[in-house]
């Protein structure tokens, strides 16, 4: 059953076309990779789904919700979350607090309740904290819990961002180039980790990635984009043999 359905989505920035009538669907529990040359519109698509850019036209349905009518700060409520290509951590907060911000949408309490510590607040805080620590533990980050989320190795920061996204307990996790900047062995580990997290937290994963080995090994479905359009879609093996894909990546001799 399709969890995410993208129909005919177009984004124009002035005269530039970011996405051109993009349509595809992602099934529940699937790991779907979005690939394509730089500038193909992969990150633009992420920004549309996370309600940063409004699309010019099209429909996106997520778990029965009309996603394009959901305000940006509500997409976690319906189960969508993401990571960013160039890290978007909060350097002024500790690693633990970063992960706890991930749980913002599934916790309650406004300014007044927080300032006077109304009875449910401390208990909620303890629960969120324990969950965040458990999550850090799972990602081998527990020792860094109290450190500021800055000045750590790039791969570590990427894992912290992953932990923060999972803390939102999403149905759909969108990863924007999770392997960029990682060493060769880290990339292999990351592929394994994404699979494990998918199984453990019953996630559906959409990822944008350039590391073809990882994409081929973990994806159940690949969507190939070029110039904002979908040029191929299918199983990894099908996509790899598709002439249009080979042309987009390698060019033609004609």
């Amino acid at each position: 059953m399709a969890l995410l359905e993208v129909e005919d989505v177009t984004v124009r920035f002035g005269g530039l076309v970011g996405l051109d009538q993009l349509s595809f669907a992602v099934d529940e529990g699937e790991i779907c990779a979005l690939i394509g040359p730089n500038g193909a519109g992969k990150t633009t698509f992420f920004n549309v789904v996370s309600r940063i850019y409004p699309p010019t036209q099209g429909r996106i349905t997520f778990a029965g919700h009309d996603l394009l009518r959901t305000p940006g700060h509500r997409i976690t409520d319906i189960g969508v979350t993401r990571t960013f290509q160039n890290l978007a951590l909060f350097p002024g907060l500790s690693v633990l607090d970063n992960v706890m911000v991930g749980a913002h949408s599934r916790s309650r309490g406004g300014f007044l309740a927080s300032a006077v510590r109304l009875p449910p607040m401390p208990a909620q805080e303890r629960r969120l904290r324990a969950q965040a620590i458990a999550l850090l533990d799972l990602l081998d980050l527990a020792a860094l819990a109290d450190r500021p989320a800055a000045g750590l190795p790039y791969g570590t920061l990427k894992r912290i961002e992953l932990a923060r996204a999972i803390a939102a307990e999403p149905k759909l996790l969108m990863l924007d180039e999770p392997a960029s900047g990682l060493t060769h062995s880290e990339v292999a580990e990351l592929g394994e980790l994404i699979r494990r997290l998918r199984d453990r937290f019953e996630l559906t994963v959409v990822l944008v990635e350039h590391h073809m080995n990882m994409v081929m090994s973990i994806s159940e479905k690949i969507v190939v984009m070029d110039f904002g359009r979908k040029i191929a879609e299918g199983l990894p093996a099908e996509v790899a043999a598709d002439p249009a894909v080979i042309e987009a990546y390698l060019g033609t001799t004609s």
Partner: protein, 353 residues
């Protein structure tokens, strides 16, 4: 699908009985000192310095929530301070209200004003916001002068003094000190709770990365506007309390200088630290009194110069310096006992409180 919860050990200072003991001792000592001050020092010091420090500390606490934690610069908090001061002055002076009742009105009024300024602030950021709020600070004395039939204008207005009730057995200046201190303690505790809650994390997350905060579910407009409102409220309450201390208001008391002084207090004390504003208020009031006063014309220059030196030595403000120093001491003592510091023990008891 829920996240597994494994039992966790207490974190931070609670894990370490020695640090907990140090903290308790420091808190008790500071508390005792603060309670003893008006009995140790004469009236002119309590009224002219300590009480002023307390009101500035409350206003800077509010400004720090906005500028330090939320990243919205305001160079106009003197105006909110002034609105609070005039609210108390007019209600007590012209309408015979009891002092305490005016606090609620000053708080409500400045909250609404803060929200009204916070709404357009959603569209302007950084230096532009600084300029807009600066205009607010510049306009306030003019507005006061324009409505001089109510405010007394540049002549000012004198209101009845805030007297100590007989049962306390205290002199007026001592009573004022304790009332101001009590409000300040409540304000600091509330802001501390707020900063260390999900709301506080959202406020800081918004400062650090708006896009990521929104994607994670933070309603940016709501948090920014309410933070502005609460920040203005604290400045307003501080202004009202300043009239408890000194029962006189006039247009020039709440000019741009006051706004800048509050901002200086935040930065000098240590932006985005809980107690930074209190230290900052202490420094902005006390430094001028420490400087040689043989040439009064030179005082502002010396004050400015000392601030420059302070910011070069301690770019993170006073508490930033304390934190650095305590981290250094801990690392050294850690090396001696050959037990390296565990991550997360990098902050000082006072600074992280």
């Amino acid at each position: 699908m829920t996240l597994d919860v494994t039992p966790v050990e207490p974190r931070g200072f609670l894990r370490d009985p020695k640090r907990l003991a140090v903290r308790v001792v420091i808190t008790l000592a500071v508390g005792a000192l603060l309670l003893a001050l008006p009995h140790i020092y004469p009236r002119f010091r309590v009224e002219g310095q300590f009480n002023v420090i307390i009101t500035y500390a409350i206003a800077a606490l509010g400004l720090n929530l906005l500028t330090g934690y939320n990243g919205q610069i305001s160079v106009g908090h003197g105006a909110f301070f002034g609105v609070g001061a005039y609210t108390t002055a007019i209600l007590v002076g012209d309408h015979g209200w009891p002092h305490f009742a005016t606090l609620a009105v000053a708080a409500a009024l400045t909250f609404v004003l803060g929200v009204l300024v916070g709404l357009p602030a959603l569209r302007i950021q950084g230096l532009y916001l600084a300029l807009v709020t600066l205009a607010l600070a510049a306009a306030f004395p003019l507005v006061v002068t324009r409505f001089s039939s109510v405010t007394g204008g540049t002549q000012g207005m004198r209101v009845s003094r805030f007297r100590a009730p007989d049962w306390t057995g205290l002199k007026d200046y001592q009573w004022k000190y304790y009332v101001l201190l009590a409000v300040a303690v409540v304000a600091f505790v509330l802001v501390r709770n707020l900063v260390k809650s999900r709301v506080g994390r959202a406020i800081i997350a918004t400062r650090d990365n708006e896009t990521a905060a929104q994607v994670l579910g933070v309603d940016l407009s709501r948090y920014k506007v309410l933070t502005f409102g609460i920040s203005a409220t604290l400045a307003g309450v501080a202004g009202a309390l300043s009239v408890f201390n000194e029962p006189f208001v006039n247009a020039e008391k709440y000019n741009i200088n006051l706004s800048i002084t509050l901002l200086v207090a935040v930065v000098v004390g240590g932006a985005a630290t809980i107690f930074g504003p209190a230290w900052g208020a202490f420094f902005v009031v006390m430094i001028p009194t420490w400087l040689p006063n043989r040439y009064p014309q030179l005082s502002p220059v010396l004050f400015g110069g000392s601030l420059i030196v302070l910011m070069i030595l301690a770019p993170g403000g006073f508490l930033g310096l304390v934190r650095q120093a305590s981290g250094w001491v801990r690392r050294r003592s850690g090396r001696r006992s050959s037990a390296g510091p565990s991550p997360g023990e990098g902050h000082d008891a006072l600074a992280s409180a």
